[in-house]
Symmetry: C2
Subunit: 554 residues, 2 copies
C-alpha cells in the first residue's frame, strides 16, 4: 500500500533530487494563494473556525486530561484543548513502532512522507489561519511561509534523506580474486535503521516552517517522531500531526509513528521528553539558552539546534539608493522583526556613503530609512498585514525598554486597526549608535528593534560583523557596496565567520528570505545554529547502515 504513495510522488521526488543538485529555483507547492482551487479558501477558513473552542482529538496513547491556552496576536483566544500526555506511556507505545517503520523500507517511508506533504499542501489555507492566529504573521505571509515554503523545506529534508539512504544499495555482490585459486565470493545485505525515537521542538513564530525539516528528516530515515510544539503555537503542529497520522493509518502503519505532545508554559514537559533515554534525535528551534541546555544535557541524542543570533548589514555605497531603502524597509517591516533572519544592525560609515558617486551623510541614510518605514506603516489597516502582530508580551516590553537606550531615529507606534482593534501591533523602533556601543547592539533584541551604527569606515564595519557572527552567531548578513574589492572582502570575512551573505539587494528578494532547494538556511558554522536546512549533514547521521554478509551460494 505504501508503495502506491512512492509511485504516486516519484516524479516529484526525482525533480526534487535534481533541484537539490543544481540549486536553481524549484517548488512543487505554489506560493500563490490564488492558484489553489476556488473552494480552498472558504474550506480552509471554515476548517479553522471549526477547530476553535473545541477539544482537538488525537486518540494517542497516554492521554490524561487536556491542555491549551493559545491566544491569537490578532486579539482573541483560540480556546482549543489538546490531549495532555503521560510521557512514559506515550514513549513506550512509540518505541513499539520502530521495527515496523524500519521494515517499511526507504521507499515505503519516503512515500508516506511525500503523501503527508501533498496533503499538507492541499490544506494550506487551514494551516495558514492556524499559523497566522498563533504566530501573529499576516495572513499572506502565514500562507506562504507556513504553507508552501514550509512544505518546500519538508520536501527538501525528505529529498536529502532519500538521496543519502539510496546511495547504498540494499544488496551487493563482492568477488575478490585469489590468484590461481577460486575467488572469494560474498553476498552482502545493507539495512537502513533509524536511531530510535525523534523529538521535534517547535518555535512559536514559525510553527510549521521550523518544524517540518526535522520532522520529515527523522521520519524518512526511520525514526518515529514526537512533535512538541511551542505552547503559544500548538494548532498548526496539531493539524500537521493529524494529517500525518491519517496517512500512516491509511498506509497500514501504526499512527503512533507520528505523535503530538502539547504542554503549557506553566507545566512544560520538553525537558522530560528531551532527556528520555529512548529519544535519540532532537531538533530544536528557539532560544540560545534552551538550545545550549539541550546540547549540554541531552547527551543520549543527536541534537540539531537553531538558536538566536545577531544579523547585520554593512552599508558602504550603492548606485540605487531608492532601491536599497525600499528593500531594507521591507526587510525591517516584515513580521515586525520576529524572523530569525531579520538583520538588527546596520553599519554605516560615520562620514556617510557614496550614492552613485555622491556622498550621503550618515544622518541622511538614517532619515531616508526612517521616512520610508514611517510611510509604509502609516495606515494601520494596511500595515497590519505586513507587520503582523507581536507574538509575546516580552517582545512588547522589549521594544519599550529599548527606546530608552539610544537616540531614536524612528519611534515605535502602537497601531490599532479598525478591522482588528484587539490586535497587538507595533511599528519598528530605529535607533542610532556608534561602533563603540556594542553593549547596545552586540546581542539579540528580538522584535522590531533596529540600530543604525556609525563606524570609522567600512573596514571597521566588516571587522565588527565578522567578530559578532563568530561570537554571537548569525543566520544572515548583507552588504551594499559598488566596489567589488569591498564586496570580496565582506564575502571573505563572512565565509570565515560562517554566515550566508546577500549582496546589493534592491529588488524583490530580501535578506531575511531564503528559498528551499537553493538557499541554505543557517550554516551550522557559527553559534546561531549547529546545522543547516538542509544538507547531507542534516540527514546522514539520523540513520545507520547495518550489514550482513555470507558466502555466495555455489
Amino acid at each position: 500500500m505504501t508503495n502506491n504513495f512512492f509511485e504516486r510522488h516519484k516524479a516529484t521526488l526525482e525533480r526534487a533530487v535534481e533541484a537539490a543538485k543544481t540549486r536553481g529555483y524549484w517548488t512543487p507547492y505554489n506560493e500563490n494563494a490564488k492558484s489553489y482551487p476556488e473552494t480552498a479558501a472558504p474550506e480552509g477558513d471554515a476548517a479553522f473556525k471549526a477547530r476553535l473552542n473545541k477539544k482537538f482529538e488525537l486518540n494517542q496513547p497516554g492521554e490524561e486530561g487536556w491542555v491549551g491556552a493559545e491566544r491569537s496576536p490578532w486579539g482573541f483566544d483560540l480556546g482549543v484543548q489538546y490531549p495532555k500526555t503521560n510521557v512514559d506511556q506515550l514513549i513506550a507505545a512509540v518505541e513499539k513502532t520502530i521495527p515496523e517503520w524500519r521494515k517499511a523500507g526507504v521507499e515505503g517511508r519516503v512515500g508516506v512522507c511525500l503523501e503527508i506533504l501533498d496533503r499538507l499542501n492541499k490544506r494550506s489555507y487551514e494551516i495558514a489561519h492556524a499559523v497566522s492566529n498563533t504566530s501573529g504573521q499576516g495572513f499572506m505571509m502565514a500562507f506562504q511561509a507556513g504553507g508552501p515554503h514550509a512544505q518546500d523545506r519538508g520536501l527538501e529534508a525528505v529529498t536529502y534523506a532519500y538521496m543519502e539512504m539510496a546511495r547504498t544499495p540494499g544488496q551487493a555482490y563482492w568477488e575478490k580474486p585469489q590468484g590461481k585459486f577460486d575467488p572469494l565470493k560474498m553476498d552482502k545485505t545493507f539495512h537502513v535503521t533509524g536511531r530510535g525515537i525523534a523529538l521535534v521542538i517547535g518555535c512559536g513564530t514559525f510553527p510549521t516552517w521550523n518544524t517540518y525539516p526535522g520532522l520529515f528528516a527523522s521520519l524518512a530515515t526511520g525514526n518515529p517522531v514526537i512533535v512538541k510544539p511551542h505552547p503559544r503555537s500548538i494548532l498548526p503542529a496539531a493539524i500537521s500531526v493529524e494529517i500525518a497520522r491519517d496517512v500512516l493509518r491509511e498506509a497500514g502503519f501504526d499512527p503512533n509513528i507520528v505523535t503530538l505532545v502539547a504542554d503549557s508554559a506553566d507545566a512544560p514537559v520538553t525537558k522530560d521528553l528531551a532527556l528520555h533515554p529512548e529519544v535519540k534525535v532532537i531538533d530544536f528551534t528557539g532560544s540560545t539558552q534552551f538550545g545550549d541546555w539541550l546540547e549540554q544535557n541531552a547527551r543520549q541524542a543527536l541534537v540539531y539546534t537553531e538558536k538566536a543570533g545577531v544579523n547585520c548589514v554593512v552599508i558602504d555605497s550603492t548606485d540605487d539608493f531608492a532601491g536599497m531603502i525600499r528593500n531594507l524597509t521591507m526587510t525591517i517591516c516584515l513580521y515586525s522583526g520576529q524572523m530569525c533572519t531579520t538583520p538588527q544592525n546596520f553599519f554605516v560609515p560615520k562620514d556617510g556613503i557614496l550614492v552613485a558617486g555622491e556622498r550621503k551623510s550618515f544622518d541622511e541614510v538614517a532619515q531616508a530609512l526612517a521616512d520610508a518605514v514611517a510611510k509604509m506603516t502609516g495606515d494601520a489597516d494596511k500595515a497590519m498585514h505586513l507587520l503582523g502582530g507581536i507574538q509575546t508580551p516580552d517582545t512588547v516590553a522589549r521594544i519599550d525598554q529599548a527606546a530608552g537606550l539610544a537616540p531614536v531615529v524612528l519611534a515605535s507606534q502602537t497601531l490599532t486597526p479598525a478591522s482588528a482593534p484587539d490586535a497587538v501591533i507595533r511599528t519598528p523602533l530605529i535607533m542610532k549608535a556608534t561602533s563603540k556601543q556594542s553593549d547596545l547592539w552586540g546581542h539579540e533584541l528580538f522584535g522590531p528593534i533596529y540600530f543604525l551604527i556609525a563606524t570609522e569606515n567600512t573596514a571597521e564595519s566588516i571587522a565588527i560583523v565578522k567578530n559578532l557572527v563568530k561570537t554571537k552567531g548569525a543566520i544572515t548578513s548583507g552588504i551594499y557596496a559598488t566596489d567589488e574589492t569591498i564586496v570580496d572582502a565582506m564575502e571573505d570575512a563572512m565565509v570565515e565567520a560562517g554566515v550566508a551573505l546577500s549582496v546589493n539587494l534592491h529588488g524583490g528578494v530580501f535578506v531575511n528570505q531564503t528559498a528551499a532547494f537553493s538557499d541554505y538556511h543557517a550554516t551550522g558554522a557559527n553559534p546561531a545554529a549547529n546545522a543547516c536546512l538542509a544538507d547531507a549533514a542534516f540527514v546522514a547521521n539520523r540513520f545507520r547502515i547495518v550489514q550482513s554478509r555470507r558466502h555466495t551460494a555455489a
Copy 2:
C-alpha cells in the same frame, strides 16, 4: 600545481566513487606484497633500519626537545626520537593555514590527498616494518592492514568527502517567475569551508589503519590535521605525516596543514590538544574510558570515536564443521585477538550443535577448536607470524589473570621462537563458561582470551548477544546455522542491536576482517563506536557550506 595531482588521480577517484556506490570488491592498492617492484622490499627494509636510533626531523613550529620510547614487541627498542611540541605554538601556526587550505578548493585538496595516498602505497614496505615493530603484528599482516588496506580506508574517506563536497555546485543560477512581471534572477556562490583544526588520535595496535580515515576525511574537507599517535606506535604515523608534508610543500602549500604531535605515556598531551578551543574535529580510536571522556569534555569539537566492545559468535549448526573450525581458528589466532573486530565469546547450546544432521556435544565443539588452535600454534617460528607479538605488558598480565577465572579448555603458552628470542608471544587462552556467568564474559578482556559459553539454546544465545551489543557495544558478530529461520532471527536481532553480521563463514573470509568500499567497519549504532568507516555521516559534517547571492547582472 595541485590541479596536476587531481588530474593525475582522477581515474582512480572516479572508480572509487563507483565502488562506493556498488559496494563490490575494489582496491587500487595491491595487498600482495610480491606484486610491488623488486626493489620495494629491500628499500623498505633499509629505510626502516635507517630510522632506528635517530632523531626523526619534522621541522614543525613549536618544537622543544625530543620524546619517544617505542619498543618493538619483537624484542628491541626502536630508539627513535620525535620532536616534543609546544601545543599552543603549534596550534597558532596551524590556525594560519586554514584560509589557504580552504581556498585550495575541493579538487585542490582532494588531489593532494590522493597523491599522499599514492606515495604511502609506494612506501608500504617501510610502513609495514614500522607497523610490525610497534603494534607487534606479523610482517605480512602489518604489510596488508598497515599498508594497502589502511590506504583503502583512507581513499574511501577521501571518496566520500569528495562525493559530499561535489554534490553542491560552486555556482548556481536561480530564476523565480513573478507572473506578468520580470522574474527574479539571482547568482549564487557556494563555498565549502572546513570546521577548523582537526585532531586524529591514533591507537597502538593499528597505527595507520585507524588513523587514515579521520586524517583524510578531515583533510579533504578543509581542516588542517594534527596527528597524535599512541606513544607505543609513533613511527608509522610520523612517516605518514612526513610524506603528507612533502606533498603539501611540493604543491605550494604550507606543510603545517598536516603535523605530528608525539608524546610519552608519562607526559601525555592528548587532553591539552583535545580541549583546545581551536580544535573543532576529533577522531579517536582506543579505550571506552578515554573515548567517553572525549565525548563528554571536548564539547567544542565534533568527536568521532571507535571504542571497545564485546564481539560474539553464535554457533547453532553447520554442514561444514571442519570449515567452521578452520575459520574460527584463524579468527582466534590472528594477531592474538588484538583486533577490535575479533570475537571474544562463542555461544554454543549446552546440548551441543547439529553437524550435517548429527549432534556434536558442547565439549566436542570446544575440544575441536582447542585442538585446531593448539595445532596451528605448535611451532613457535611459524606461529609467530600469525599470532604476532603481544603489544603491551597489560595484555600479558590480563591473559595470566584470566586463566584463573573459569575452566580452561586450552591454556595460553609462552612461545620463544629461535628467530626472535626476545619477542613477547602468547598463544590463545580458551575457557568454558555458562550463560549465567556474564560477570566473566560480559565485558571486554582485550587480547587472546576466549570463552565458549553454554546456553540453554540458540534463542538464548541470540538474546544474550543482542543485549550485549546494545549495552557494551560490538564491532562484529557472527552466526553458524543451517536453518534460515534461525539466521533470519539473528539478522533481525543484530540489525536492531546495530552490529554487522557474518553468516556461516567457513572459507577465506574471517569475521574480524572487513573490506573497504564494501564492508562498513563499525556501525555507529551501538556503544562501540559513534561513527563508521566510512559513510556519508563520517564526512558530511566536517565541512559547512557558506553561500553568497546577488542579483544577476542585467
